[in-house]
Amino acid sequence: MSELSVETREVGDVTLLYPRGFINAHTVRRFEQEIRKALELNRFKLVINCEGLTYIASAGLGAMMGSIEEIRGNGGDLRLAALNETVRNIFEILGFHHLYRIFPSEMEAIRSFRDGEPS
């Protein structure tokens, strides 16, 4: 099994990222690259669908933190969907659930951008 793959998909002005595998110090560059690609295309509404994400270490959380100001400064946001219990727990330990909006499903995260809900 690959350690991490990240597919992307666009739905209107929302970019969806699908990390599959785990994000740690070994795999984080791949994850960062996909976020950077979206930002370089001036796409600042991002949803990370975590359905296939088994685990995330601080390196992955740092990658999100490293881009969030640029994203929000351009009127966008980085939102998360479909976290498994392990990943959700890591977010909660760090208090990241106060910094990022988390949705049960991808559709709800996409809809939140369309409804113009604030970040």
């Binding site: 110090a25 740092g62 933190m65 760090l94």
Partner: protein
């Protein structure tokens, strides 16, 4: 007592195997190359050792994360990303507690010298460092860093009595 061992052309001193007390659970020590590729192995092994130590569901995953973070610190900070070094991970089920030591022979690093994590500042200042130590401290009951005989020892201890996390 100690034993000398050749690793990557350098001599490293490691503790000689100790005789296990009657009834005590076995310990495990692992020498790991300083490559991030091996972090996944450390994580899986830690989870298994924590399960064997009797931790309830969910806790082994968090302990695995804490040890992953300690090992990442060694690779990135003590060894500055050099992939030709090695470090040791030692597991010990001490009955009331579960202890993991991550031992390296790299540069002296004092993670506690890093500024405390303030999530609001992380957003506004684009800071990303220090999260690993913060996670370790949230997950474990005790995290200590010691420098001794040119070795860094990060000791992580978790009680088994089910005290709440996230203090």
């Amino acid at each position: 007592m100690s034993a000398a061992r050749e690793a990557g052309g350098r001599k490293e001193r490691t503790a000689a195997p100790r005789r296990r007390a009657a009834g005590a659970k076995p310990d495990l020590a692992l020498v790991v190359p300083s490559e991030t590729h091996f972090l996944a192995l450390i994580k899986e092994l830690t989870k298994r050792m924590a399960e064997a130590a009797g931790f309830a569901e969910g806790v082994p995953d968090r302990l695995a994360l804490a040890v992953d973070e300690a090992a990442t610190n060694v690779i990135e900070h003590a060894y500055h990303g050099a992939a030709d070094r090695s470090f040791e991970v030692r597991y010990e089920d001490r009955g009331a507690t579960f202890q993991v030591e991550v031992v390296d022979t790299g540069a002296m690093v004092d993670p506690r010298a890093m500024p405390r994590v303030d999530l609001d500042r992380y957003v506004t200042e684009r800071r990303t460092g220090g999260l690993g130590v913060h996670l370790m401290e949230k997950i474990m009951d005790s995290v200590t860093f010691q420098r001794s005989a040119r070795r860094n020892v990060c000791r992580l201890v978790k009680r088994k009595d089910g005290e709440p996390e996230g203090r």
